[in-house]
Symmetry: C2
Subunit: 70 residues, 2 copies
């Protein structure tokens, strides 16, 4: 699994666990609303600064985005 | 600690554990040699694709870059 795919799956899972839409998450993270969908579709190589904003908005540690599934 | 700082510290630690210079790591990862130093100095918000290349070149899981220190 590519790292983009790993991040995409974790982001979608964490977002859905909080029952937040892509648009709402982007709003809370103060990033462009297109980024969340693009990351979840593996269309965009997101950088550390935006990952930090997303983690803050989700209330999780950024390391959660990089967890490999069992 | 910002996420840039966390990644910077982990990258430097992992690189030094392997006794590889910034230049050698960049060469092995096939990324521009400036990136490694910029990331270690927290001057650059590195993206997932380049982190994957660096992890492969270091022989570590990308999650290692996001470990928070004890």
């Amino acid at each position: 699994m590519s790292l983009r795919e790993r991040v995409a799956r974790n982001l979608r899972r964490l977002r859905q666990e909080k029952s937040i839409s892509q648009e709402e998450l982007a709003h809370r993270a103060q990033i462009n609303r297109n980024y969340v969908g693009m990351v979840e579709r593996e269309e965009y190589s997101i950088s550390v600064d935006k990952l930090e904003k997303l983690a803050d908005a989700l209330g999780v540690d950024p390391a959660e985005f990089f967890r490999s599934e069992a």
